[in-house]
């Protein structure tokens, strides 16, 4: 394990009341990333936001399933790479088919994936042993 590595896994009930907890944990974590060259508070907001959006979707699209299900998040910082995984137990969806929002249409919805795509360097959605996983990556600018 390199000196800057942080790994965090948290599981909470499938409920929106835990959005703030997980978003705020990510903010604390960002404040401890060593040698980050960008604006730390902006990064903190952005990670809070992408987690909140991904988890809100996971909650909304898991409603169908067993009460035993839970929200599961994995955050991993290793050197310059930051990876966030958000699991859901729903039926899944085709991430590539989600359109860019139409900025002239004042839809009340449809900006969550847009935020995630805009603020993270890469995003993919796949199935693994823990369920459906929205996996988001970012390269952290470091002071050299």
């Amino acid at each position: 394990m390199a000196p800057t590595d942080i790994d965090l896994e948290v599981t909470v009930p499938t409920h929106t009341r835990y959005l703030a907890l997980i978003g705020n944990i990510a903010e604390l974590l960002v404040r401890e990333i060593e040698e980050y060259a960008g604006d730390r508070e902006t990064l903190a907001y952005h990670l809070n936001l992408v987690l909140t959006e991904a988890l809100a979707n996971a909650i909304e699209h898991s409603m169908c399933c067993s009460p035993k299900q839970k929200l599961r998040v994995h955050i991993h910082v290793e050197g310059e790479s930051l990876c966030i995984q958000v699991y859901d137990q729903g039926t899944g969806f085709d991430l590539d088919a989600v359109p860019q929002p139409d900025f002239d249409q004042l839809d009340e919805r449809g900006r969550g994936i847009f935020f995630i795509r805009t603020l993270m360097d890469s995003v993919n959605y796949h199935r693994d042993s823990n369920g459906n996983c929205l996996e988001m990556h970012m390269k952290l600018a470091r002071h050299s």
Binding site: N48, L49, E53
Partner: protein
């Protein structure tokens, strides 16, 4: 959800006293704005000064209030946006949709004008 409401003349000042507007409380905000409009309050000023964080569902709730106000010949304007909250409006181009004032005084003055003309600017 912690919201305070003050009425003066025909204007309604709505102060959101929550650090976060997200999927946990945005539906409540949406319903709250809807009720005010249904009760005949058509000039809404929403003060976001206490709001440190807003997500897409929070933007959606404000947008719902905005559209409903317009439908009723009213208006919904915003004030007190913290810089990072303002960025979320910029990323989604919603800063071009909402009337956003940097101070409450400006917001009040603007809504007075709207009031005097008996309609919003749109």
């Amino acid at each position: 959800m912690n919201i305070t409401v003050e009425n003066a003349d025909n204007k309604t000042l709505i102060s959101l006293k929550e650090e976060r507007i997200d999927a946990h409380n945005s539906l409540e905000l949406k319903d709250f704005l809807q009720k005010l409009l249904e009760n005949g309050q058509h000039l809404l000023i929403v003060d976001l000064a206490a709001v440190r964080f807003i997500d897409s569902s929070g933007l959606g709730a404000l947008l719902s209030g905005y559209k409903n106000a317009n439908l009723r010949q009213g208006s919904l304007i915003l004030t007190g946006l913290q810089p990072r909250v303002h960025s979320m409006f910029e990323l989604t181009r919603l800063h071009r949709v909402f009337e956003i004032y940097s101070s409450l005084d400006e917001a009040l003055a603007a809504s007075r004008e709207v009031n005097a003309h008996g309609a919003n600017r749109h």
